[in-house]
């Protein structure tokens, strides 16, 4: 574990005499390597390690009786703060329907996550509607329709080649049916596909969702920065959901996503079942990234 590694490092270093600034530099280089192995982006790691170094010097790690433990606490606290300190919930509009738009790269888990959100939000007296706005992937509409039956919520589809129109009509239908929350499932797309990114912008301008959630695969590597940058440019994102964190991926992309998008990670996906959605807690993800 990280605690063991740094306690060991500082023990060896202090065994060589009084700790110095150079020792802090060595420790921060180790943090850098650990974070790169955890898929935190190279540039984000640089800034993070520099912040940790400055903090370690400022908080007198060198004169502490337990420098290793103190250093680890600094790393951990810095990580938790960077990840957003506290959980930020979904913003439900006092004037229904609240519209939640879900977007992201191919295969990241959007369709499954839409159904999980529907289930998460389901409570007596609240009506949820799932709308199928992926008109490209074979059987995408069927996939969401099956999931909506499993959740037990309303479902909207429309035979049209205009995705903005589909979303507009879904909203009109939601108003008619007194739906409280409308969730729009969009097609997976590359952040560098200008036409498909323009489609998302059209949907956003047409429907004006209260929440725009970027769904990112928890195993994503350095590319997380590119994804976050382009999606943030195109849309006023309100949050991020990281999926597939039930595996052994360290999830370092979370740091990149939070730092670059400036938006909170709101949930994490931890399985294929519709109940496998957890609220994001920075402390838990920080421990996971730091291993």
């Amino acid at each position: 574990s990280l605690t063991e590694k740094f306690t060991g490092l500082f023990k060896d270093l202090s065994g060589q005499g009084k700790l110095s600034e150079a020792n802090i530099k060595e420790a921060s280089a180790r943090v850098r390597r650990a974070l790169l192995e955890a898929d935190v982006n190279y540039k984000v790691v640089k800034d993070f390690a520099a912040a940790v170094e400055a903090r370690a010097l400022g908080e007198d790690v060198l004169t502490s009786i337990t420098p290793g433990q103190k250093f680890v606490k600094i790393v951990y606290d810095q990580m938790v703060e960077t990840l957003g300190s506290v959980n930020q919930p979904l913003a439900l509009s006092p004037q229904p329907p609240t519209v939640i738009m879900v977007c992201g790269l191919q295969g990241s888990g959007k369709t499954t996550t839409c159904a999980k959100l529907a289930k998460h939000l389901s409570k007596p007296g609240r009506r949820i509607m799932l709308a199928a706005a992926d008109i490209y992937r074979p059987a995408a509409v069927q996939q969401l329709e099956i999931l909506s039956k499993q959740v037990g919520c309303d479902f909207f589809k429309l035979d049209s080649t205009d995705v903005a129109q589909i979303c507009q009509e879904a909203k009109q239908e939601a108003v008619k049916k007194l739906i409280d929350v409308l969730i729009l499932d969009t097609a997976g797309r590359l952040h560098i596909d200008t036409e498909m990114m323009a489609e998302l912008e059209r949907v956003q301008k047409t429907v004006k969702p209260q929440e725009i959630l970027l769904v990112v695969d928890g195993m994503t590597g350095q590319d997380a920065v590119n994804i976050a940058t382009e999606f943030s440019k195109a849309l006023p994102l309100s949050g991020v959901i990281m999926t597939k964190l039930d595996g052994d991926a360290r999830g370092g992309a979370a740091l990149s996503l939070k730092v670059i998008s400036g938006q909170p990670i709101k949930f994490i996906g931890v399985g294929e079942k519709l109940s496998a959605l957890e609220e994001f807690h920075p402390s838990r993800v920080a421990s996971r990234i730091l291993g």
């Binding site: 295969g107 069927q142 099956i146 560098i192 590597g221 595996g247 052994d248 992309a253």
Partner: protein, 275 residues
């Protein structure tokens, strides 16, 4: 530093950054740069790096996937990988490639778990003019595989592609299910599956190494398909995978269309990593 033979410390730092941003990973990047520093000083540093990367990728002599003129028929190819990596789409594209090269292809939907997985593959089979074997959702994947191999044998199929459900490599019961599918195929037809392809998403970071390790511990993997290379991710983790597990990358997915599958080109891949 393109034309240089000797690099300064800061130039090595720039090279390291390039490799890390391509998901090569800190340990593999360090090893690569070490071999560049100690390599043939008559070549430029970049040339040394390229050669070292190509040598790693060529670690397995079975780097070329045969896609026509099969002597053992029906060829049975099993496709596996984690959730959302691109298995089903890859099978559609691969079936199209094989048909274009003269084979009679059949697709089998052994993903009996995920919503509309069977429908998704059936639509692909119609698109590419391939045969199709499916079942009701919830059926045992091994029995779908068994029925598909029987059908392929009796219908003079040249290549049978078997789609499986996405599964995280860390889930033992799902690894066991895959092992059962594999051994059911082997019992039904000696020598099968002739290919077992692991589908890896190029956007995945260091976790791809763990995926490759655990999948290849469960069943013998004959090749890797690296998908979504049409994005900005470079798939650099493939170097660590090639070095440690000697698994060849045989195909590259470069888009969502039926034609977006290429034979893996190591030179092109290295160029992509080095930007």
């Amino acid at each position: 530093f393109t034309g240089k033979k000797a690099l300064s410390a800061s130039e090595y730092g720039e090279l390291e950054e390039l490799l890390l941003l391509a998901d090569v990973g800190p340990r593999a990047a360090e090893k690569l740069l070490g071999s560049v520093k100690n390599g043939d000083q008559e070549l430029t540093a970049i040339e040394r790096l390229k050669r070292e990367m190509l040598a790693i990728l060529a670690a397995n002599s079975n780097c070329k996937l045969q896609i026509a003129n099969f002597s053992d028929k029906p060829q049975v190819w099993l496709i596996a990988g984690v959730n959302g990596s691109g298995k089903t789409t890859t099978i559609g594209k691969l079936g199209n490639m094989l048909t274009a090269n003269g084979s009679k292809v059949m697709l089998a939907a052994a993903d009996t778990y995920r919503a509309a997985a069977i429908e998704q593959l059936e639509l692909w089979s119609k698109k590419i003019g391939a045969g199709f074997v499916g079942s009701a959702p919830g059926a045992d994947p091994a029995s779908v595989a068994f029925d598909a191999v029987s059908a392929a044998m009796s219908q003079k199929t040249d290549v049978l592609l078997i789609d499986t459900a996405g599964r995280l490599h860390t889930q033992k019961h799902l690894r066991d299910e895959l092992v059962k599918v594999h051994s059911t195929i082997a019992k039904k037809m000696p020598g099968a599956p002739h290919q077992t392809l692991l589908v890896l998403d190029a956007t995945t970071g260091q976790n791809a190494l763990s995926q490759a390790r655990l999948f290849s511990e469960a069943i013998p993997i004959s090749g890797i398909v690296l998908t979504k290379l049409d994005g900005t991710a470079k798939g650099g983790i493939m170097l660590a995978i090639a070095q440690e597990l000697k698994l060849p990358v045989v195909l590259a997915g470069v888009g969502e269309g039926v034609g977006d599958l290429k034979v893996f080109d190591a030179e092109e891949f290295v160029e992509g990593v080095l930007g």
